[in-house]
Subunit: 229 residues, 2 copies
């Protein structure tokens, strides 16, 4: 998966440099800038980039977001707040499960983030979960966290990456069938522990990102085990 | 889980401030400094902390690492390189599965990280995976990633948090039993697809962090399904 970072109207050169350093830490090298406030090149960006300076050197500047994203297959937009509610928001932990092809991750300017018009362009909107005490991440920190998520996903890829994640309905269908099979087998004979056991079993399957194919495989496994009586 | 960040001999006030900002973003507020190079207080730290300035205001300074960690139950040390090989290294994604009680996360100075003597003090050593192209993270980025991992773990806690993660042996035992049960049920009758199916099934169970208790529950589930013939 080839990926690009797009900074829209970034204000401070220091932040652009720190973002480039974080990109290089996590194996990304394609930085795209849309109308940087202080022009380009910007010596402050070079200063902060450390060993990521090669990314600053080959960064490309575009006039519009449209120009910057034209060759990408999948655009992820980041947002700090939930004012934009028309599309579902996928967490930073999950979002790369959905991405395919040439992926762009887009960040708004320090002061105000991406506009609604820019968010609309994305295939998916993501948010890094933060505390209510101080929800506003430094932009280079946000770039770092997203690149970290992408890097750890790439070194621990999901199986069946090309099949979509299971819907809640698919997962529930499997879990309900598993539970009823276990009821039938008298697995929950300790009535006091039963609710905890059920919730532990559910958690084991819901806390990972199962694909649709995974749930079908699990249904097959379960039916096979039961029918071999 | 109450948690503290410990910066050992930090050099630049700007980095201390940026680390405090990241801490506040992810709900931490206890910052401990061991012998900061430029003394304390440091106005540059305040400047970079943004809405995390309250953390700078109440940060505590210690002379030695021992003083800084005396009240903690569990110490995590971060390292950028693998020169220290006597203890296993747990990834930043997994490390909070092991932590209990009052947790400290300790970072070395910008130039050279933690010494072997400091690493020895930790219950566990962790590393943020990075690219070989530029493995050296800015310290505030590293603090940010660790705080992010802790925050996302706290909002999506593992079930059975107090039971340890399964050993590879426990997991293999379950997976081998599952496979042989499926063989017996003739689940893998398509010999061509069998290796892929086996690997998909294994991946579903290995890519999440199952606890020992989880593997025991899964064994119980499996035995119950099989025996109810």
């Amino acid at each position: 998966m080839s990926s690009s970072i797009i900074l829209v109207a970034p204000q401070m050169g220091e932040n652009i440099g720190a973002a480039a350093r974080a990109m290089s830490n996590f194996g990304l090298d394609d930085l795209r800038l849309v109308s940087p406030r202080d022009g380009w090149p910007n010596p402050k960006a070079n200063e902060m980039a450390a060993h990521g300076e090669f990314i600053i050197e080959k960064a490309r500047v575009f006039e519009t977001v449209n120009d910057a994203i034209s060759d990408l297959n999948f655009l992820i937009a980041t947002t700090a707040n939930l004012r934009y509610m028309e599309k579902p928001i996928t967490s930073s932990r999950e979002v790369f499960n959905l991405a395919q092809g040439k992926v762009g991750i887009m960040f708004g300017c320090e002061r105000s983030g991406l506009t609604n018009e820019q968010l609309v362009m994305a295939d998916v909107i993501t948010q890094i979960p933060t505390s209510n005490i101080n929800p506003s991440l430094n932009i280079a920190q946000a770039v770092g966290v997203m690149c970290y998520e992408l890097f750890t996903r790439n070194i621990n890829p999901l199986p069946n990456k090309n099949t979509p994640l299971a819907t809640k309905q698919e997962l529930d269908f499997f879990l309900a069938f598993l539970e009823s099979s276990l009821e039938e087998a008298d697995f929950f004979k300790n009535k006091k522990l039963a609710p905890t056991m059920k919730s532990n079993i559910r958690n084991m399957f819901t806390r990972q990102s199962l694909t649709s194919q995974d749930t079908r495989t699990l249904m097959g496994v379960l039916k096979s085990l039961i029918s071999n009586r």
